[in-house]
Amino acid sequence: MSIELKNVMYTYSPGTSYEIHALKDIDLNIPDGQFIGVIGHTGSGKSTLIQHLNALIRPTSGTILYNGEDIWADKYDRKTLRSEVGLVFQYPEHQLFESDVLSDVCFGPMNQGKTREEAEAEARKALSQVGFKEKNYGKSPFELSGGQKKRVAIAGVLAMNPKILILDEPTAGLDPKGRDDILDQIAELHAARGITIILVSHSMEDIAKYVERLIVMNHGETVFDDTPKAVFSHYKELETMGLAAPQITYIMHALKEHGLDVDADATTVEEAKRSILAVLNENKSALLKAEGGCLDD
């Protein structure tokens, strides 16, 4: 179930003075089951990129293959593609419209031609997988909290059984706890359903914690496409693009500069803690040894 982009270009308002090259010559391969992060400042082309993956935007030139088939070929079934490549937009308010949560989540599966019963079964499964409590199924989506709305919105796409799930800034506007909850849920989904996850985020800390592969967009191009560790080691270049590495990266580099021999590639608090403790213990035992040596004399 792979997506492949070959020389994809996209230009807004071509031929006018408002012409913007949103994507320039993108080559990308997204195989099965990865947890991918996409970062880039506003206007870097990351939103345009993800909308190409489920055929919401047609590239100006280049080809996009899904399982080896050109998704813009004449008779290609893009409706089916959109249910296999699910896209959850940033604001749940843009998609919630039914009078109760369960019906809202049923909207997707019913558009796939399922009966209400089948759709409800899918909806219940999806809602429970995003951690939404059954007692709230009958509530209006509009009276939910921000975090709950987000869950319902994700469930609404998940109920269509996508093979790939793209989330555009799923944590925007949530408080710290809400943010951690939703990201943990997404990571769990990734494990439970084995689906590919593409996470667009502004938070380097979140990216460092969850993804295995990180794509960095700048001026419509993919500048980096590697493991988060490898990407964040280029933190100085990231800064020139208006991005930054997680705060931990800066701490570790500063420590190293001050003579503490820590692992400068650590990107999460957990990794940093382990590395610092190891170095401190080593220093301590070295110190003890030195003191012991003194005594011997």
């Binding site: 308002s13 909308q51 489920n54 919401l56 409706k79 959109r82 249910s83 699910g86 896209l87 959850v88 937009f89 604001y91 308010e93 843009h94 998609q95 919630l96 419209f97 909207f107 997707g108 558009n111 796939q112 509009f142 609404g156 796409v157 269509m160």
Partner: protein, 267 residues
């Protein structure tokens, strides 16, 4: 894409028309509209044409922008012309089955077409040379006497300028909602009329809810910035007539006088 539609089709340029007070331009447009109905002979139309041509010339707006406005009324124009041609009784020029075209019909159709086209071009010149804000300001001030008969002129003009600010935002939002629902398999084009209307619900519900939320937020933001109605309010850019406006009014009066004279003399 929906957001490609341009609204409030202001064309920025530095011309004498751009600098005129919006009230002068509103009166000018009104005078021109009256003149188009006063003139009913071809010499009269010639005077109107000259007037219009001069206005286009001094507005510094490219002619193609001015004629763009006509595209929107092309259908109405065609219908008016065809109906006038075939439905007016009189001397028959051409006949096919029950359809007949009369001399009087052709005459009337041409007049109607000229009037319609001139009306659109005349008002386009005004909207192209006046920012939406100036326009609402001009309307507010021109209509202020209506306050006496309890027409809430200030509130109406405030609503108009807020609408102007939010139309692009809501259009962009419509675009986003459509994409979010298409991603969930929604189809906005399929089916018959009733089906199509039903398909719009997933678009309209989020759009309305968002619009209400925005209205609520905006009302609070306005209150927080001391808005308390139109009383005792000062203006940052009050409208003031300049010498050029007085000259413009004289020209307009002269132009209208010609129109009335033509009418009285039956030219």
């Amino acid at each position: 894409m929906i957001r490609d539609i341009t609204l409030g089709q202001y064309y920025p340029a530095d011309s004498i028309l751009h600098r005129l007070d919006p009230r002068t331009k509103l009166s000018g447009t009104l005078a021109f509209i009256i003149s188009v109905f006063l003139f009913h002979t071809f010499p009269g139309y010639a005077v109107a044409t000259v007037f219009l041509a001069v206005m286009i010339k001094i507005s510094k707006v490219p002619v193609k922008f001015i004629f763009k406005g006509l595209k929107a009324i092309l259908m109405i124009l065609m219908i008016t012309v065809v109906f006038n041609m075939v439905l007016t009784p009189g001397q028959i020029l051409w006949k096919w089955g029950f359809l007949k075209i009369t001399r009087e019909g052709v005459d009337l159709a041409v007049r109607m077409a000229i009037r319609l086209i001139y009306l659109v071009i005349g008002s386009s010149i005004m909207t192209l040379t006046t920012t939406p804000n100036q326009l609402t300001d001009g309307l507010e001030k021109s209509l202020r006497p209506l306050n006496k008969i309890h027409v809430p002129v200030h509130e109406i003009s405030m609503m108009m300028s807020i609408a102007l600010r939010f139309i692009p935002i809501l259009l962009e939002e419509t675009d986003k909602i459509m994409k979010a629902q298409i991603a969930r398999g929604a189809a906005f084009e399929n089916g018959n009329l009733i089906q199509k209307a039903k398909n719009m619900i997933p678009l309209l519900v989020p759009l309305f809810i968002s619009a209400f939320r925005r209205a609520n937020d905006l009302a609070m933001a306005m209150e927080a910035r001391c808005y308390h109605g139109g009383d005792h309010r000062t203006q940052m850019k009050p409208l003031k007539y300049a010498a050029r406006d007085r000259i413009a009014y004289c020209i307009l009066a002269g132009y209208l006088a010609i129109g009335i004279a033509f009418r009285v003399m039956g030219i």
